[in-house]
Amino acid sequence: MKIIPNKRGDKILSVYWFAILLITAGGIFAMVYIFYGTPYDVREIETRILTNQIADCVSYEGKISQNLISNGIAKEGNENFLDQCHLNFNSPEWKDAQFYTEVNLYKLENLNTPVLDIKKGNNNWVADCTIQENKKQENLPTCLRKNFYSIDDKNNQYIIKILSVVRKAEKNVKI
């Protein structure tokens, strides 16, 4: 077999090689730009911490707060109970509150009608949770629902359902 030395072919190859390098570099630059340009989304952790704090406030060491239910009866005028939970949903960083939380207490015998329904925060974000029930959408607020079991001072059994919502989309998602 005869191989003919071809200098022209080498030059074409060099151009081709540099074109590959440029394409590779372009690809890497684009990937890095997308990766580092996207903010870290910490809202899921934030909703978890918020839920835990509310759970500790509503029921400490497995017993429901006596400010909510005393002698087996739900206390009246506890719509603002969550104000006692050391939560500050207002921030100079945002115009509107970026959080919303809802606590529902159900007796074990009747899981359809809540004994207590307490809320705090910006309720504009609740509708977005319903939209995301089937598929999570990053541009919308992050929602977390948690249920746990607790008892009151008369050992009546309750299911406590907590919904926590954190928006802060501009700081956690590339919009």
Binding site: M1, K2, P5, K7, S14, V32, Y36, P39, I49, S91
Partner: protein
């Protein structure tokens, strides 16, 4: 009659043909070297140098992106806000901010100005630009200051509920 075999006469061609038709092994390579001229060698050296330069620039770019002020500011501000959110009163948190101290020093930012808490907003500043802010919901009185020794740590103190 013996057949004459010609070999590619540049390094690049050797790369494309890693197994050139052999006839006598080392002898052939020696023959090949003898045929090369000085100009071809310089061309190849330039080619390799440019490739290495390209790789070095790419690695430096990736390293700088990963350790940039904007990325670190965001990451530390969010971390500190989450730590404060999950902390109970009378807690002292020591946070290793070694990278942040080095970058702040390089950019002329004082160590006392790296982390600031105003109302319920954490601000981390590692360059002479504005810094990054992130708010926390836990209604606590928190203060921050750099640790004296070792000077890579930052102390976040949760004094009590407001």
């Amino acid at each position: 009659m013996k057949k004459r075999v010609d070999y590619p006469n540049s390094f690049t061609s050797l790369l494309i043909h890693p197994h050139p038709p052999t006839r006598g092994g080392k002898k052939c390579i020696r023959k090949l070297n003898r045929n090369k001229s000085g100009t071809i060698l310089i061309e190849n050296v330039i080619f390799i140098v440019l490739n290495v330069l390209f790789l070095v620039i790419l690695i430096l770019f990736l390293y700088r992106q990963g350790n940039g002020a904007i990325i670190l500011e965001q990451s530390y501000a969010k971390n500190i806000a989450l730590l404060i959110d999950s902390a109970k009163p009378v807690t002292e948190i020591k946070l290793n901010l070694g990278d942040a101290f080095a970058l702040a020093e390089k950019n002329g930012v004082k160590s006392e100005d790296i982390v600031k808490i105003n109302e319920n907003v954490v601000t981390v500043k590692l360059s002479d630009k504005g810094g990054y802010q992130y708010s926390f919901f836990n209604d606590v009185d928190a203060t921050t200051y750099p640790d004296i020794s070792p000077n890579k740590n930052y102390i976040i103190k949760i004094n009590g509920y407001k």
